[in-house]
């Protein structure tokens, strides 16, 4: 059976390789005549992103503005993934046994001191990735994952209880909800001002110090990315806590 599966995988692989390499209608890498480059949509994005939104990084502009719905529901997917893992794994122990501290579970001095140095830098880098996502690679998702990783590092180096003292389970769930509400709030704000959902240009009427729709789009994208970061950070931390402790949310690895 295993050999048969191997033969099937090998044959399918060969067919795929043939399909992407030797057929004439498959465009070669980076060619300007490929269907993706010739479509009017990508032409529009390349020409008008900087005019419409003042954002130099086209990827961020497409992600957070032109297809804002998609990114909003991606954030909801992450939120629902966290809720799903919570629903499947979490166990509540009433009057549970107090945890046993042995010599093995004491945090190591070298590791904790290294993490003391590293964690602020990681969090600062996460904020940089978030704030600089407009002009360099990065944005809410990446910044959120890096920020979540810094909390996971606290839990790995010390203990999940110490990490939960700084960012409790309840706070994490509230923050993940707040993230989506921030995102949807920007959409609803543009609805109340008389535009379509997530068409941020109109927000310049209520943002202080912003007088053009382009700059309003720029700042609304930043706000939306902050919302994404809230959700991703807290859900990453929650997933780690639930998986590492079999849903008990105490002690940890």
């Amino acid at each position: 059976m295993k050999k048969l599966a191997g033969i099937v995988v090998f044959t399918v692989g060969l067919i795929l390789l043939y399909g992407v390499s030797s057929l004439d209608d498959f465009p070669s890498w980076g060619t300007p005549d490929s269907p993706a480059n010739k479509s009017p949509l990508s032409q529009y994005f390349i020409k008008n992103t900087i005019v419409d939104t003042e954002v130099p990084n086209m990827v961020t502009a497409v992600l957070a503005d032109y297809r804002g719905y998609d990114t909003m529901f991606e954030t909801v997917v992450i939120f629902v993934a966290g809720l799903g893992i919570f629903a499947v794994v979490r166990v509540f122990e009433h009057g549970g046994a107090s945890r046993v501290v042995t010599a093995d579970t004491k945090p190591d001095i070298i590791i904790t001191n290294t993490c003391r140095l590293l964690i602020p830098l990681i969090q600062l880098f996460a904020l940089y990735v978030l704030a600089h996502g407009h002009s360099s690679p990065g944005g809410g998702f990446q910044g959120g994952v890096i920020m979540g990783a810094s909390f996971i590092l606290v839990a790995l180096a010390w203990d999940l209880d110490i990490a939960l003292k700084r960012f409790s389970e309840k706070q994490a769930f509230i923050c993940s909800g707040i993230g989506i509400l921030i995102y949807a709030g920007f959409g609803l704000a543009s609805v109340f001002l008389g535009e379509e959902f997530l068409n941020y240009g109109i927000i310049h009427k209520i943002l202080p110090g912003v007088d053009s729709p382009e700059m309003a789009r720029y700042y609304a994208m930043l706000g939306v990315e902050i919302g994404v970061m809230f959700t991703v950070t807290s859900i990453m931390f929650l997933i780690y806590g639930l998986l590492a402790t079999r849903g008990k949310m105490t002690a940890g690895l």
Partner: protein, 81 residues
């Protein structure tokens, strides 16, 4: 696309992918999967998709490896398959 870079990355990538599937020790497989993600990240960056490379480095090589190791810690370490 620089041929030499592509060649070297793919030279490592394909054996790493096969090894990650073949290993019986799941902890080692999770580590090798992290290496696979990192090589994919290099490949994305080399093809000019820097945003995707960034996401791959943060999510694929960073957090998902931690999730897998946390799960293996609470289940069995050896695959019976």
């Amino acid at each position: 696309m620089i041929f030499a870079f592509d060649f070297i990355i793919l030279l490592f990538l394909i054996p790493v992918a096969i090894v990650a599937l073949q290993l019986k020790d799941l902890l080692a497989a999770a580590m090798v999967f992290g290496i696979y993600s990192f090589l994919m990240c290099l490949l994305w960056a080399e093809m000019g998709a820097v945003d995707v490379a960034f996401t791959e480095a943060a999510v694929g090589a960073g957090v998902s490896a931690v999730f897998m190791i946390a799960t293996i810690f609470n289940t069995k370490r050896n695959s019976s398959d």
